[in-house]
Assembly symmetry: C2
């Protein structure tokens, strides 16, 4: 088995004496895959070298990971930047999450077409690395939107290996895909129909099929849904650790014995943080009985701050929070508590302490927080969950539904959650925990393996 993902399980740091220290790689895909693959001697993980130190480790032949066959690809830095920062993060991410401000973005000019060429080249490099490594008949599991073209290239390079592509994000609507150049969408769909295409839930399978249908290619596609919940043991380790205890004590001091609405998110446009605060403001305005009774605790990890649109969004988030605190705060009551340190134990402590968990993305492939929260929480927190999150398909009967663009509806959902009686909270909490544990990652990986088949392009 070969797993192919953009980020790998390790990242290297070079010391002054030329030796390399391995650290665990970042990101949700890595967290899910690492415990499954470690110790398996039938698996190879191919990923990109991230940054100069990783590239140096490749050149020094220093990439070795205990219990795991890892191959890092040393890619041309500028080509890799165009592939990742420009196409993956600013084009495909925005397209699949429906985030384009279409009067202004995207602008597919010569520079962006060149970036697409770079995206192609990196995907090609991954496919060639797979082709060079795979034994006849191997299973190749390609991960996520950085590698959309790999399945298609493998159809040419290695028609003997069995391939699955899995997309961890949402999939866009026909009108969103139509904003990409014709050649770009043609290549994406050619590759995603070359091998079975997996998504977290039926919602995105449907979105994918709808695009194919609008392209006059409705029938043939082999698309399926399979997903995974959090890694409960490792969550429990963090929850039981000193850092979470310290963070919990500090939070308790800040909010006292008030109720807490909690959110923990990357500071990411799709997470819909501003509308969440506006819903809390409407709650305080229209249901004044909650004033001084409830604080909104937002643990927000800064993200992609090299991009102006993310910096702008962060400042919008902070401005709205400050305005609400100015308007309503009194005595020792801080209505909105915003913490933008990147500190996982602190997020865990907030999830333990929550009375209500707000997860209201405008669109989200799955959203693991919606499942981590119920596993960590100690107060039968009510989950207010966006219908546009993939996790909604799994948790809908135990959550309070949120329409993420409708701030008044979100305020009503928060009100219902805060007012919910103890028995119903307890019953829902059991339902949420059960559902969160019902999708072990090893079954997800098995699904990808069993679905795999030789890649074939239409032509």
């Amino acid at each position: 088995m070969i797993v192919v993902s953009h980020r790998g399980p390790v990242s290297f740091q070079r010391a002054d004496d030329g030796t390399f220290t391995a650290r665990r790689g970042a990101g949700g895909v890595v967290s899910a895959l690492d415990p499954l693959l470690r110790g398996r001697d039938d698996a190879t993980w191919i990923a990109a070298a991230i940054g100069d130190d990783d590239r140096a480790a490749v050149q020094a032949d220093a990439v070795s990971v205990p219990g795991l066959a890892v191959e890092l690809l040393a890619l041309d830095p500028e080509t890799h930047r165009l592939h990742y920062d420009v196409i993956s993060n600013q084009i495909l991410w925005f397209c699949f999450h429906g985030l384009f401000d279409s009067a202004r973005e995207p602008v597919f000019d010569a520079a962006l077409h060149e970036a697409w060429d770079a995206y192609r080249a990196i995907n090609r490099a991954f496919a060639e690395a797979v082709a060079a490594t795979a034994a006849p008949g191997d299973v190749v599991l390609v991960q996520d939107l950085q590698l959309l073209l790999v399945a298609g290239y493998l159809a040419e390079l290695r028609p003997d290996v069995a391939v699955t592509h899995f997309t961890h994000t949402p999939f866009g609507s026909p009108s969103e895909l139509a904003m990409l150049p014709d050649a770009v969408t043609a290549e994406i769909f050619a590759s995603l129909t070359a091998a079975p295409a997996g998504f977290h839930t039926e919602h995105w399978v449907h979105a994918f099929r709808l695009c194919l249908h609008e392209r006059g290619n409705g029938d043939g596609a082999d698309a399926f849904a399979t997903t995974f919940g959090p890694d409960a043991p490792s969550l429990r380790d963090v929850a039981g650790g000193d850092a979470a205890a310290t963070a919990g004590a500090s939070l308790a001091e800040r909010v006292g014995d008030r109720r807490c609405i909690v959110r923990t998110d990357r500071l990411e446009l799709s997470k819909n943080i501003v509308r969440g605060f506006l819903a809390f403001e409407e709650l305080l305005t229209t249901r004044p009985a909650w004033r001084e009774q409830v604080s909104f605790v937002a643990m927000l990890n800064p993200s992609r701050e090299s991009l102006a649109t993310y910096r702008d969004y962060r400042s919008e988030v902070e401005t709205v929070a400050a305005r609400i605190n100015d308007r309503f705060g009194r005595g020792d009551w801080e209505p909105v508590v915003v913490d933008t340190r990147d500190d996982f134990p602190r997020s865990v402590a907030a999830l333990q302490r929550a009375d209500v968990l707000l997860v209201n993305p405008v669109r989200d492939g799955l959203n693991l927080v919606a499942m981590e929260g119920p596993l960590l929480n100690e107060r039968d927190a009510v989950l207010c969950l966006s219908r546009e999150a993939g996790a909604f398909d799994l948790l809908r009967e135990h959550a309070v539904e949120v329409q993420p663009f409708d701030v008044s509806q979100t305020a009503a959902a928060l009100d219902a959650a805060l007012a919910m009686d103890t028995d119903e909270r307890a019953a829902r909490a059991i339902g949420l925990r059960t559902a969160a544990l019902a999708h072990p990652a090893d079954r997800w990986l098995d699904d990808l393996v069993h679905r795999a088949r030789p890649a074939r392009t239409a032509d």
Copy 2:
């Protein structure tokens, strides 16, 4: 027959002595309908009183129009403002044109829900005015996105009259409609399926049906396409008038004997003006032979300047144009000529003078300029036309196709248009003129009448 539209055929101005002068109403719907209805004694036109003077004319019983039975509704100014400025122009227009910057807009808070109540109330007032005026069995033709709910209300109030609704804009995609609150979309779809729903082209019929399909209501809807081209005689009047001649002479002085790419548009986000300039910049960059040979003449009428997003867009347009002129301008060659006076004869003169006409909206219900241009033009201008404009369905075989988000593709389309040989230009120009004349407005009106049937809601 009763025609119901937001803007009517006249607008009044009150003099100091209390008398009223009628002026022709503004907008494309009025231009199409006025010549068809004037002189018909079987037709009544119901529209809103726009502004204080119109309302005063209603109160003074001074609304009388030669050859036309007109009823203006004096609406509560604040309710009307919320209906028109907020819901029609900032919500429905943005939704149907796919213009929401979804991380930020829409924010359906209490104020916006209240604006929706106002939209409802105004639609109700229109429906009640129709109900009070209509004779048994009358045909009622409801126009456009300001009045989406009228057909549904008529199903209750006057199940005996025959109704058609016609939408002059595009229709949104399922994911775009899903950004509106559930009650809002439910009311819109209930009304638009209560009576036959007309759109300019099959493209929007398909978009409408796709939404219904995604709502699990694919079959029943009675939706159809019918459209109208420009009013050729009145265009010819303007084209032959002194004002157009003067504007033409002044334009000739400014551009000399260079080739002209022309666009004439409202300064509207959906018109995609910035990407048009960027495509011209890429043309000059990548095909330097066109430098000094071609000017881009943009006649842009300022629009909705009370909204910050339109003011911002205007400044982006002017900034890009200035940058291109700074970068490429030399001697007496002004690469981009921008004129933002609201002056129709000036636009007509530019359309007469064009060698290439660029119509590249990100989305447009029809786009009359794409048909007016060929009728006015004197140089067999090549039409570069966005596939996202309704007019593309009618003109595609004679136009050069534009993917409006793909600036490089647009630059290539402009290049192909400029380089096209005389014979092909002439043949295409004939095709465009023929197609532009093939959709007389009276046939469109007949279609609406013949489709009309009693409105019925599903419940």
